[in-house]
């Protein structure tokens, strides 16, 4: 009886009451309580009753509403954004949105509309965005005009529109964006353009424009005009005579047949004012020094994937160009871009070169004003980088050399660009032999991305000289023995605010490893194999964003909870957390500090087995003695006393009987 009672007592003492709260809603997903809901792909035939009346943003695409009328959405009078993409809508009847005064965006993309009633869009006080993409419209008269006075953008792509001639009563006073992509517009007349009073963004991509009435764009001003995939560019450029355009997109595509660009075709540019032009994927038929003679006023030129192997030297008309994009071409050597033709350049992009790009020496030395240089994804290999290669780039602020072949960096490898503020070397294997300090003179550098650079992290001088470094990414680099020791490469960078040490295969961090990093506000240690003890190294940090996701944390001892409490946001997702009473202090702390915790959906128990996969926030442990426990304990003690008294009595009786 006694051992059984003991077991019973133990069971009472250590029993943990576990309760799991689960929440299942097979219907719409709540993105923001009582405001934002997603009900897509549910095959719904009406607005479900579970949606609150307060709903403001509703994604209702891919459901089934052949007819929408004034009863369909009548309950949701607070709607601001309504997405009805591909709901098989045929009819939009009278007064559908009568009571939706706040409605600002209606998306009807992909509905086979047969008819929209005259008053079907009446109601909203300020309807700003209307999407009628691929709704089968062939005539702009189809769109009910009564309540479009506040409209700012109208999307009419992928319809059967052949004329952009707006009906006379169509209100355009606020209309700024009109999208006519992929229609059948072949001709643009003066009358058409005159009707588009305030429109500053026009998209004609995927319309084969064969003619523009001369003078149609005369003294018109546009922010953005797009004529992507047009067969004959000279038609467009002639038609745009005397217009002022900030950004003109004239690129073509892989699947579009086009004529080779000649100097003659680009002549129209002399008669207009353009700030930025895109000619992606075109072929140039022979380059002459005068090919760009009409580009004199141009600030930005995008020649992405234009099959260039070189640019001839002495190109005329490029003296005021600020930004040049030569990405996805096939230069063999950087000098082949003839940089001397672009003396005012501040931004140069040559990323994704299709051949191995040789940086050569002094190829960019004439670009004294260059601020941004992107040479990523270009198969660049250089055993001794980068002083000869980047000679005279003294104003350079941003340099991107990521995703290249191995680079060898010596001491002061970026001496030629002392004003660098951002340096991206991600996924480029760096050869730096200890104890060299390649970044020595970069006193202004603020951002350094060294992720996946296969660094020798034992070189304590690697980051020497980076006096102003705020953001350092060391993702994917390994440390000796998987541990970040007391003396490490982070010693010289005391000004760090953001440090990323994710996926570094770290097993431990010395308590003193970060002691000089007092300004840190963002520390990412995710995807390592760290245990709870690593938190010791963060005792001097306050108000930090701390990411410890996907580590090997089982138990966080009570003494470390104070350190966690000091931080602003903590992510502990995907850790094998222990949910037994030996971790009760942490679990209690966790549930009291939920507002500090990020990724709580992925923060789950790994043990004991019956709680595996349960969210930490849903676990209820009680590890003290419960009321039932106290009752049984008292009964037990009472019984014990009685037992003692009886046994004492019998011993005494036995003794007296034998005197």
């Amino acid at each position: 009886m006694a051992p059984c009672a003991g077991c019973f007592l133990l069971a009472v003492l250590f029993s943990a009451n576990c309760k799991v709260i689960t929440f299942l809603d097979p219907m719409c997903t709540e993105k923001e309580a009582s405001r934002t809901y997603n009900c897509e792909n549910l095959g719904l035939k009406e607005i479900p009753d579970t949606l609150p009346n307060t709903t403001e943003f509703l994604e209702f695409g891919f459901n089934f509403l052949p007819t929408v009328q004034n009863t369909t959405f009548s309950r949701l009078i607070n709607l601001i954004f309504l997405d009805l993409t591909r709901c098989h809508i045929n009819w939009v009847h009278e007064d559908t949105f009568q009571n939706h005064h706040q409605l600002n965006t209606i998306v009807l993309t992909g509905n086979p509309l047969i008819f929209m009633a005259e008053t079907s869009l009446n109601g909203p006080m300020s309807l700003k965005h209307l999407f009628l993409t691929q709704t089968g419209i062939s005539n702009l008269e189809f769109i009910p005009v009564h309540n479009l006075g506040n409209l700012e953008s109208l999307h009419l792509g992928s319809n059967h529109i052949s004329s952009i001639n707006l009906p006379e009563n169509f209100p355009t006073q606020n209309l700024k964006v009109m999208d006519f992509q992929n229609n059948a517009i072949h001709y643009i007349s003066s009358k058409d353009i005159n009707a588009l009073e305030q429109v500053t963004n026009l998209n004609f991509n995927g319309n084969d424009i064969k003619g523009i009435e001369p003078g149609a764009f005369n003294s018109k001003i546009f922010q953005s005009l797009k004529f992507g995939g047009t067969l004959d560019l000279s038609v467009i450029l002639k038609g745009l005579q005397n217009s002022t355009i900030q950004s003109l997109w004239l690129g073509t595509f892989e699947d579009t047949d086009d004529q080779d660009l000649t100097s003659a075709m680009l002549e129209g540019l002399c008669e207009m004012s353009v700030e930025s032009i895109n000619l992606q994927k075109h072929h140039f038929s022979g380059f002459s020094p005068s090919t760009f003679q009409c580009f004199t006023g141009l600030r930005e030129l995008d020649l992405t994937a234009t099959h260039l192997r070189e640019l001839p030297s002495g190109l005329e008309g490029m003296s005021s160009l600020r930004k040049l994009i030569l990405s996805a071409n096939s230069f063999e050597q950087l000098c082949q871009i003839s940089a001397a033709s672009f003396p005012s350049l501040t931004d140069l992009y040559i990323k994704g070169n299709t051949r191995k790009l040789d940086l050569g020496t002094r190829c960019l030395e004439k670009l004294e004003n260059l601020r941004k240089l992107d040479l990523s994804h270009s198969d660049i290999e250089a055993p001794d980088c980068c002083n000869l290669q980047l000679q005279n780039l003294s104003q350079l602020q941003h340099l991107n050399l990521s995703y290249n072949e191995p680079l060898g960096l010596q001491d002061q490898a970026f001496k030629e660009c002392p004003r660098l503020e951002l340096l991206d070397l991600a996924f480029t294997h760096l050869h730096v032999s200890a104890p060299q300090s390649p970044f020595q003179n970069l006193h202004l550098l603020q951002v350094l991305n060294l992720s996946n650079c296969l660094l020798d992290t034992s070189n304590e001088h690697l980051l020497a000289g980076l006096l102003d470094l705020r953001h350092l990414n060391l993702h994917g680099n390994n440390f000796q023995d998987g541990s970040l020791s007391k003396t490490n490469l982070l010693q010289p960078v005391g000004s760090l605010e953001t440090l990323i040490l994710s996926s570094c295969d770290l097993l431990s961090i010395d308590q003193q490893a970060f002691h000089n990093l007092g300004k840190m506000s963002h520390l990412d240690l995710s995807h390592n194999r760290l245990t709870g003890d690593c938190i010791d190294a963060l005792s001097h940090l306050k108000g930090t964003y701390l990411n410890l996701a996907a580590n090997n944390i089982h138990i966080i001892p009570p003494r470390l909870l104070l350190i966690l409490s000091q931080q602003s946001t903590i992510n502990l997702g995907h850790n094998p957390l222990d949910c037994t009473c030996s971790n009760i202090h942490f679990i209690t702390w966790y549930q009291e500090n939920l507002q500090k915790l990020e990724g709580s959906g992925e923060t789950m128990c790994a043990s004991p087995p019956f709680l595996r996969g349960v969210k930490l926030s849903d676990v209820k442990l009680s590890c003290g003695i419960t009321r039932v426990g106290i009752f049984f304990l008292m009964v037990f003690v009472f019984l014990l006393i009685i037992l003692l008294i009886f046994s004492g009595k019998s011993i005494l009786r036995w003794k007296y009987q034998h005197i």
């Binding site: 097979p26 993409t85 992909g110 691929q134 792509g157 992928s158 991509n205 595509f253 990405s327």
Partner: protein, 158 residues
Amino acid sequence: MKGFAAAFLVWALVSPQGGGETWPAHTACRDGNLEVLYQSCDPLQDFGFSADQCSKQLKPNLNIRFGIVLREDIEELFLDVALFAKGSSILKFSYPVCEVDLPKFSFCGRKKGEQIYYAGPVNNPGFEIPVGEYQVLLELYNRDHSTVACANATVTCS
């Protein structure tokens, strides 16, 4: 055991519509010694695909036909390809189809809900397919990593 069965039933009932449904296998091309079959692995929908020529000696810049309803915007679109033979992985690569600074194809930038029909080149390199049976997993996804299309293909070359 009963509890397990009940749990399974509940799971089956609450799992999203279309979950568990499989789409029919289609023939992308069949010719003499090469056959390509595919099946959509997007639980929400099927799609149509065919290649204009089908030979062991794959020509560069193949023409394809492709029809699908977009469930996501595709201003940015990426393709992941994983090739397996006899259950082991041979090749994996990722290819950007549409990027903000380089929309390679005319369909780049189309909107969620649009129906797309593409007939044109795919800019592939030419190569010879060695004899054997291969499994290919193709996934098209956008910037949020939301699935645009997913295909399980079987290539049989004899």
